[in-house]
């Protein structure tokens, strides 16, 4: 097993790929029996410090339906200067540039260690990155101030030649023209009326420049499209101007009478933002960043009326079909998301409010375009501020950790077909020989578009083994999959990353133990969870649970069943959307944390150790650190809390106590520093109200029902009717036996 673990790890580090099965069952029948589908988690842009990009074009298979990229798995005839495609077996001539090729003089893409390789290509014009801020002005003064400061700060984080634009909205939507001197100028739209892209472009005066735009986009010319430049300007030019503009930004001036919500035209604002970019910079990387402090209350995409007496929809309302705006709003945002995605633009949503802000309806904007979704209580919190700052963080080489307009193309060997993908992408509807008829997730295509991605963005890709049982694969045969990701690097270069992997086929009847051994439990759990969440998004909750139970009952995903990804109890629709959004894009490690939070214990009894996520782990003399991905909870046990209150940590003789208190804080800080979005940081103690975050996660092995049965010496009882892991396991065992019979 160790070898497999190493193999898996090595593969992940090199290629960013984790398969559920690392030895593949060789026929469809066997694969089906395996229950867990053959699938992989792919992190297309996994950060690889040891991977210098090569500065030439990849060599493609000449068969039009294949076009696979030359890779280490290809057979090469150095003398004839020929290579055979390992997917379609087409024999191809090397291009003239490869004339000097020989066994000792191989191009990088033929070397085994370059199973993942990145090409930099000079193709098409380069456009600077584009950031379009869409800012809600119906905020409390404090919030708005904080947001303004964050935005002003962000200007300094942008690359100087990036284009920025600003749209503000409240009751009206204002598109600010950034080029003018003196009078600041903005185009105003009414927040209640949806406009077509054409109308928006006409009204912004963008329709005519269509012609100059296409010509005028050549490499970094200063001669940018005249018109579009009115709204999108290089940061270095209008830095001061925009800073002032943001500084003068006022709260929405329209009076809000008592008992009403402010009128917020989020739907139209987004629509205009999408229309604006669509008209000016189609098919180039651009980021629409929506900052909103409440639900849309008017116009298309409105989520709730402006009467405060009618609360925003809850899961309860949705089940009762009582959410009157939901469907229409969802549709509106879906349309926008699709349009935006089609143009390669992504939409981020930064929603900070105590109540819901309509993420449920708007989620597809982020989900389909690869945008971020951040949910917080206020713009005036470090959660938002730091998260936002982290959007612009740079990697080792000083490059932004973001990429745009990725086009992921998956190619498979003949025995394998592509069933679908789950992640922040949309289908490009590329039918081909390697596309399966059965869909899992977003299927029916071999290509997907990911409008925005970073080094952690991870897609789940599902395959189907199509090889028939009666057509055995020769011993030692390998199946191959190639992932070709073309994207716009943050340096505005066009790059292509190619990952080619191969796995052995095995006959399940004779080599079952190999297959079992090569099972990647973690990957499988996450892949199944994604499927579950995907279904949960599109289907009714209970049905999904039942499906999951049928599928996973054998997989012990106890915590997943209890997670907010599948359970909506105690979560608002917005929260569910938020959690699911992140689950569908994070890499394996993070996903696992989300499924089963990590619990560390700090005590005087030894070094920090991971402990069971169980109520029995909650002891008076322990400090617990729980990481649920979305929250970091530090929990002081009863005794510890009393000591702290007594102030022992301030006494020199109890310095060790001080260190004990400090240890989890440091660890938490570390997590906080790296994670995106920044988790909610909770510091609580035994009996604290915030302790509920911990108590809701742990396995309720002790509850008010069995408190006395378990004795009192340890743990803390949880007040819940949920079954504990023990009960779950017992039930499971019973079930396993009965189902076996």
């Amino acid at each position: 097993m160790a070898t497999y673990l190493e193999f898996i790890q090595q593969n992940e580090e090199r290629d960013g790929v984790r398969f559920s099965w690392n030895v593949w069952p060789s026929s469809r029948l066997e694969a089906t029996r395996m229950v867990v589908p053959l699938a992989c988690l792919l992190t297309p842009l996994k950060e690889r410090l040891d991977l210098p990009p090569v500065q030439y074009e990849p060599v493609l298979c000449s068969r039009p339906t294949c076009k696979a990229v030359l890779n280490p798995l290809c057979q090469v005839d150095y003398r004839a200067k020929l290579w055979a495609c390992n997917f379609c077996f087409q024999r191809n001539q090397f291009p003239p540039a490869y004339a000097g090729i020989s066994e000792v003089n191989q191009p990088a893409e033929l070397m085994p260690q370059f199973s993942t390789i990145e090409y930099i290509v000079q193709r098409g014009p380069q456009t600077p990155l584009i950031f379009l801020y869409v800012v809600d002005t119906c905020l409390e003064e404090e919030d708005l101030q904080a947001l303004k400061e964050s935005l002003q700060m962000s200007l300094s984080l942008l690359p100087p030649d990036a284009l920025v634009g600003l749209i503000t909205f409240g009751r009206m939507v204002q598109v600010h023209e950034l080029s003018c001197e003196g009078i600041s100028k903005s185009y105003v739209f009414r927040g209640t009326k949806d406009l077509t892209a054409k109308q928006i472009q006409d009204m912004l005066g963008l329709s005519r420049p269509a012609v100059p735009m296409q010509q005028g986009r050549p490499l970094q010319t200063p001669q940018q499209p005249v018109i579009s430049s009115r709204f999108l300007q290089p940061v270095h030019k209008i830095d001061m101007n925009l800073t002032d503009l943001l500084g003068e930004l006022q709260r929405d001036p329209w009076p809000v009478t008592q008992g009403k919500r402010p009128l917020r035209s989020t739907g139209v604002a987004l629509s205009i933002a999408v229309g604006l970019l669509e008209g000016t910079f189609p098919n180039t990387g651009a980021r629409i960043m929506l900052f909103t402090g409440g639900p849309p209350t008017q116009g298309p995409g409105m989520v709730v009326g402006d009467e405060l007496k009618t609360p925003i929809r809850s899961w309860h309302d949705i089940e009762k079909d009582n959410a009157r705006f939901m469907k229409k709003a969802t549709k509106h945002y879906e349309t926008l998301a699709n349009r935006s995605a089609a143009n390669g633009h992504c939409i981020d949503i930064y929603a900070c409010a105590l109540d819901q802000t309509g993420l449920l309806e708007m989620k597809c904007c982020a989900n389909l375009t690869g945008g971020h979704m951040v949910m917080g209580d206020s713009f005036n919190t470090s959660l938002f501020k730091q998260t936002f700052q982290r959007v612009f963080s740079r990697g080792y080489n000083g490059e932004f950790r973001m990429a745009f307009g990725a086009n992921l193309d998956v190619k498979t060997s003949r025995e394998l077909k592509i069933a679908g993908a789950i992640g922040p992408c949309i289908s490009l509807n590329a039918k081909g020989p390697c596309v399966s008829e059965n869909e899992l997730g977003i299927g029916g295509t071999s290509q997907w578009k990911i409008c925005s991605l970073d080094h952690n963005t991870t897609l789940a890709i599902y395959f189907e083994v199509v090889n028939q049982h009666n057509a055995p694969i020769p011993q030692g045969g390998r199946g191959a999959v190639q992932f070709v990701t073309q994207y716009q690097h943050s340096s505005t270069q066009k790059r292509i990353r190619v990952t080619t992997i191969a796995r052995n086929w095995a006959d399940a009847q004779t080599q079952l133990q190999h297959i079992e051994a090569a099972f990647d439990q973690e990957a499988a759990a996450v892949l199944m969870a994604r499927l579950g969440v995907y279904r949960a998004e599109s289907e009714e909750g209970p049905d999904v649970l039942r499906w999951l139970d049928r599928q996973l009952i054998r997989l012990f995903i106890f915590h997943l069943r209890r997670s907010p990804f599948l359970q909506v109890f105690n979560n608002s629709p917005d929260e569910s959307s938020y959690y699911r959004h992140h689950f569908a894009r994070q890499d394996l490690t993070q996903s696992l944390i989300m499924i089963q939070p990590i619990l560390y214990a700090y005590s005087f009894h030894g070094p920090p150790e991971p402990v069971l996520l169980d109520s029995s782990s909650i002891l008076p003399d322990r400090i617990l650190l729980m990481d649920t991905f979305f929250q970091i909870v530090i929990y002081l046990g009863e005794t510890i809390a009393q000591w702290q209150k007594a102030g022992y940590q301030d006494m020199p003789e109890y310095e060790n106590f001080k260190h004990l208190l400090q240890a989890p804080l440091d660890d938490a800080q570390e997590i906080l520093q790296t994670r995106f979005p920044m988790p909610r940081y909770i510091h609580t103690e035994h009996g604290g109200s915030q302790a509920r975050f911990l108590l809701s996660k742990v396995n309720p092995s002790q509850t008010h029902n069995n408190l006395y049965a378990w004795g009192q010496e340890s743990g803390a009882p949880i007040l819940t009717d949920d079954v504990s892991l023990q009960v779950f396991m017992d039930h499971l065992k019973k079930l396993a036996v009965s189902s076996a019979s």
Binding site: M172, Q174, E177, C180, G182, I183, S184, K185, S186, Y187, V188, F189, R190, K193, L195, Q199, D202, M203, L204, G205, E248, Q250, P253, W254, P255
Partner: protein, 1106 residues
């Protein structure tokens, strides 16, 4: 009476001296049977003599004053003597006292001459019936020497005595005279030269008339009555004279008749005055003589011929032509012989201009609008606020129908008053609000009767008895008046204001101060012409002069700015901003206001931001290439802004082109001259789409008034664009082919005045009347959602509403008829107020009383508005015919029921209406009803709307422009030169004239004008060097230039709009345009000349009578 008004021109003079003396005394003594006036007369007589000699000549001359023309000598003498004369005359009336009362019209000064004549005429007039007959003799006598003397003398006396009273008569006489004069071809020249003179001459003719006078029995009465009864009688007497004049046609014809050759038109007329005319003929020569003689009073008859000749020289060519043949006059009616507006105006001015008009008496006819007079409010509203077509209303509807005289009031609720008069007092009754009748809701006014010791009052409108609220109770004195009568404006004055309570406010909320929004077209045309820059520059200073409530430090009005082409730009000019912010709204299909806070601001607080904005607007759009504009969305934007700010206000829109950009209210060019004179012509006046009507309705509901400044280079469909301004009580200003150099001054003046003038918002006006009549029809710039309330989003001091009344029951002579006009409005400081105007009128059972108390100017105002509205729904021809028909009926009714019996061939006009034909003809010839080839569709629509909210003074000068001989101006005095009649015949090649009609000022320069004058006025050395591109007169340091400029300034000051100055050189291309305004002549577009039209009217009347 018959047309008496012929100018008394030549004849009088000729005869004057001799005649007068003779007349006067005799007349008084003998004819003035009544004797009553005698004393007065006597007094007059006294003066008269003195006057006579000096007066006649001088008086006239001065007024006429065409030194250059005919007789310099006479002029001199005139002038010199004039002064005295006038004075004398002025005094005379007072002294006579009686006389004035008599006729009501006292022509003090200048009239002396007239009056004399008048009297003469009067007598003549009275004799009217006989007059014609007599005249001949009379005239003949005159010719000879002063043959008619006896008769004529009498008249003269009367005149003096009666002058005041019998102005009309005078006129009539004048007419008669003139006729005579006219008859003598000579007169015309004289007329021209004299301009005013003609009237003076009439006297002489009057003399002739006298003879006629004697004939008619009336004369005696009239004479006696002249003062009082004169009007009526006068009319009758005048008839004769008028007959002469008018009939010029008929009489003329008659005259002609006698002489074998008769002109075609005349035949009809002939009948009437044949006799007289015959005489006339005789006289003409004499007159001629007289005129020339005028200077030489001494030798009237003999010299005539030569003088005529003299005149010719000085007189323009037409006259020259006429001069030779004395016969011509026979064929043609002498223009001097028909009623002269100039004469009437002059008479009224002289008779009534000196005394304040005290409004205490019911049914008093006020002085003419052309007369300067002061008003003392003693219980009735000043005529500046309300003028009626008649101050004596028929008691029954039958009578009203029979007479066909429209009963209408022209109301100008917020009229500006001269500084000497006090604005209406503001009465504050606190929370209880104004006291009102329980039933009809009429407001407390001087006519309410307090009864039961003051505990109750009886409504003067509906007779309902209402309790006096305790806080308002007051004891009555022994006469039944409340003790506090004089303390309370609403009990003692005709006009006053109440402070409205919250019940009178929209939504039961006191209004916020109104706002002004300036909306500037910044399309290519506007920018290129420099208009945008001009407006922005002007606004910077103009904003300091927003209207404010009397004692307030600064105006409460807030301002906002919008620019637009195909899209709209709003500006945030909040005081806290360092720079204004511009907000573009491109969604013109669904207009909204993008901002609330910072759009409407206080000028002082946001001064720097506004200044910065106004500096930048021209720069921002300097390179614009956008040529298309929208229009309806602009109004919508303003409306929405006011809605959002919850206030009323006014939009100032500066617009340049037809709104063809894709937006609501988009228009297409539908101008089609081929439609003129077809049944579809009316569509040119109708809006293209009903969109604007609906928009206007919304605007009115919000109190959003729209003022539109148009700068078109081509058709932009004023008929449609004007709908909203029109229905919201706004104004339209149009500057076709706007050019910065020539038009900016005019535009800026209009703009300044428009911004600064007093204005009320969100106004509702209701007119309540005594039981028996009812307001049934309304004309003006407003919107009505029901049949009684006139709603105006904005109402300024120039806007006038004409209201027509109809009977729905009987009125009683005792109680008379009352009008109460209540206007509820929001003042410029946001105060809700009620302005009340009360007017009491007499009622009559005799048609004669009606005709005696009419006001022709008001009547014309009504008729013009009625006709101008008619063109929206009927073919123009139908409208014209209806007008003619109605006037014919009015006059026929008079002739049938009031005039003394006379030959059917005689044209007899009521004294009060003797100008009706000439004015009506002007209306008929106006651009709207009879467009010339050079008049654009837009012009017609513009004028149509303009006239609809004009007051009486404006319509008066609009339809009958004022023509002033500048070269006759006395450079040393402040006075204007005497006006002359609008006919080319009256122009002399050697003179410079000024013509104004309220919209334009023409300065016409004859080809023979002395170089010195040209040099003085234009700063160039010769006629040919005068540039007609001048838009102002050059500022030159010489008396003549100063005088002319001061005249122009004075005229500009009198009008609500800055008039466009156009220099017209004789025989230049532009002269065609100028001639269009010589309304007594035949117009190029087919309009009849005054004389022809008079003939036509006469024919119509005769048809009706037969």
């Amino acid at each position: 009476m018959s047309v008496n008004q012929q100018a008394h021109t030549g004849p009088p003079y000729g005869q004057p001296q001799p005649g007068y003396q003779g007349y006067q005394q005799p007349a008084y003594g003998g004819q003035s049977l009544p004797g009553v006036p005698q004393a007065q007369y006597g007094a007059y007589n006294g003066p008269v003599p003195g006057y006579q000699q000096p007066v006649p000549p001088q008086g006239y001359f001065p007024s006429l004053g065409f030194p250059s023309k005919g007789s310099p000598v006479s002029l001199n003498s005139d002038t010199s003597s004039l002064a005295p004369n006038f004075i004398g005359s002025l005094r005379a009336p007072p002294t006579s006292g009686a006389p004035p009362p008599a006729s009501g019209a006292s022509h003090p000064s200048g009239h002396l001459a007239y009056s004399q004549f008048e009297h003469g005429d009067v007598q003549n007039g009275i004799p009217a019936s006989a007059a014609p007959m007599q005249r001949p003799p009379a005239s003949q006598p005159f010719l000879p020497g002063s043959a008619p003397t006896p008769v004529s003398q009498i008249p003269t006396f009367q005149q003096y005595g009666a002058p005041p009273a019998s102005v009309q008569q005078l006129r009539n006489h004048m007419a008669g005279m003139t006729i005579g004069g006219t008859a003598a071809s000579a007169p015309p020249p004289a007329g021209l030269g004299y301009g005013v003179g003609p009237s003076s001459y009439p006297p002489t003719t009057g003399a002739p008339r006298p003879p006629a006078m004697p004939g008619p029995p009336l004369p005696g009465q009239t004479v006696a009555g002249p003062p009082s009864s004169q009007p009526n009688h006068v009319s009758s007497p005048p008839p004769p004279s008028t007959m002469a004049g008018l009939h010029p046609g008929p009489p003329m014809s008659g005259l002609h008749g006698p002489p074998p050759p008769t002109h075609p038109p005349q035949p009809g007329y002939q009948m009437q005055q044949n006799g007289s005319f015959g005489q006339m003929r005789g006289p003409p020569p004499n007159y001629g003589g007289a005129y020339p003689g005028a200077p030489n009073y001494g030798s009237p008859p003999g010299p005539p011929p030569p003088p005529k000749r003299l005149d010719p020289d000085s007189i323009p060519s037409p006259q020259l032509n006429e001069l030779p043949p004395q016969q011509k006059p026979r064929h043609r009616i002498d223009p001097d012989a028909i009623p002269s507006p100039i004469q009437v105006i002059e008479d009224d001015r002289n008779n009534r201009g000196s005394e304040p008009f005290v409004t205490g008496v019911r049914g008093q006819v006020p002085p003419l609008v052309t007369t300067n007079f002061l008003v003392k409010d003693q219980g009735n509203a000043s005529p500046r606020y309300i003028r009626c077509t008649s101050y004596n209303i028929p008691c029954t509807s039958d009578m009203a129908k029979q007479s066909q005289v429209p009963l209408a009031a022209v109301i100008k609720p917020l009229a500006a008053l001269p500084p000497e008069e006090t604005v209406p007092y503001l009465v504050d009754h606190g929370e209880s609000g104004p006291v009102r009748c329980n039933r009809c809701k009429a407001y407390m006014c001087p006519f309410m009767q307090f009864i039961e010791g003051g505990r109750r009052f009886q409504c003067c409108f509906c007779s309902c008895v209402t309790e006096v609220p305790p806080h308002y109770f007051q004891h009555l004195d022994h006469t039944g008046k409340r003790v506090d009568f004089y303390d309370r404006p609403e009990l003692s004055l005709g006009s006053y204001e109440f402070l409205a309570t919250v019940d009178y406010c929209k939504n039961n909320k006191f209004p916020s101060p109104p706002a002004f929004i300036f909306m500037i077209d910044v399309s290519y045309n506007a920018v290129k012409s420099g208009l945008v820059r001009l407006i922005c520059e002007e606004l910077k200073s103009l904003l300091d002069y927003l209207p404010r409530e009397g004692n307030m430090e600064e105006s409460a009005i807030r301002v906002g700015f919008v620019t637009y082409n195909k899209v709209l730009h709003f500006y945030n000019v909040k005081s806290s901003l360092a720079q204004p912010q511009m907000m573009v709204v491109s969604d013109v299909a669904d207009m909204f206001v993008p901002l609330l806070d910072g759009f409407l601001v206080n000028v002082n607080e946001s001064r720097t931001v506004i200044a910065s904005l106004l500096d930048q607007i021209p720069e921002m759009f300097a390179d614009t290439r956008e040529t298309e504009t929208v229009f309806a969305p602009v109004i919508q934007a303003g409306l929405e802004a006011l809605k959002a700010a919850e206030c009323a206000g006014k939009l100032f829109i500066f617009h340049t082109s037809l709104p063809i950009a894709e937006a609501p209210g988009k228009l297409k060019n539908r101008d089609d001259r081929k439609l003129i004179n077809t049944d579809k012509e009316k569509t040119l006046f109708q809006p293209q789409t009903s969109f604007y009507n609906n928009l206007a309705k919304d605007c009115v509901a919000q109190g959003c008034c729209v003022d539109l400044f148009l700068f078109p280079n081509q058709y932009l469909d004023v008929a449609t664009l004007g709908v909203v301004p029109y229905q919201t009580g706004g104004s339209i200003f149009k500057y076709a082919y706007f050019q910065l150099e020539t038009d900016q001054y005019r535009f800026l003046n209009d703009l300044r005045r428009d911004v600064q003038k007093e204005v009320g918002f969100d106004a509702v006006m209701r007119v309540r009347t005594s039981t028996g009549i009812r307001a049934t029809d309304f004309f003006g710039a407003f919107y009505m959602s029901n049949t009684t309330d006139v709603e105006m989003a904005g109402l300024d001091c120039d806007k006038t509403i004409t209201v027509e009344f109809k009977h729905d029951d009987k009125l009683s002579e005792d109680s008379g008829a009352l009008l109460q006009c209540a206007l509820l409005y929001t003042s410029c400081a946001g105060q809700r107020r009620l302005r009340i105007h009360n007017l009491s009128l007499n009622c009559c059972t005799q048609l004669a009383d009606l005709y005696r108390n009419c006001e022709t100017d008001t009547l014309i105002n009504y008729l013009a508005k009625y006709a101008y509205r008619g063109v929206l729904s009927s073919p123009v021809k139908t409208v014209r015919d209806a007008l003619i028909n109605q006037c014919a009926q009015i006059l026929a009714c008079y002739r049938k029921n009031c005039a003394s019996p006379s030959s059917a061939g005689q044209l007899i006009l009521p004294e009060c209406m003797k100008l009706l034909p000439v004015y009506l003809n002007c209306v008929l010839k106006s651009d709207v009803l009879q467009p010339g080839p050079e008049v654009t569709t837009d012009d017609r629509a513009y004028v149509r709307q303009l006239v609809t909210s004009m007051d009486v003074a404006e319509t008066n000068v609009f339809f009958y422009p004022r023509l002033l001989p500048l070269t006759k101006a006395d450079v040393d005095s402040d006075s204007l030169p005497a006006a002359i009649r609008n006919s080319e015949e009256r122009l002399s090649k050697g003179d410079i004239y000024l013509l104004e009609n309220g919209l334009n000022i023409f300065v016409w320069v004859g080809v023979n004008v002395q170089q010195g004058l040209i040099q003085n006025l234009f700063g160039v050395s010769s006629f040919s060097q005068i540039s007609n591109a001048l838009s102002t007169l050059p500022v030159l340091e010489n008396p003549f230039s100063k005088k002319v400029r001061s005249i122009v300034d004075m005229l500009q000051g009198q009008r609500s709009r800055y008039m466009k100055l156009i220099i017209v050189k004789q025989e230049d291309k532009l002269e065609m345009l100028f001639k269009h305004f010589l309304v007594e002549d035949k117009s190029l577009s087919g309009g009849a000349s005054y004389v022809d039209f008079l003939c036509h009217m006469h024919k119509e009347i005769r048809q009706l009578l037969s």
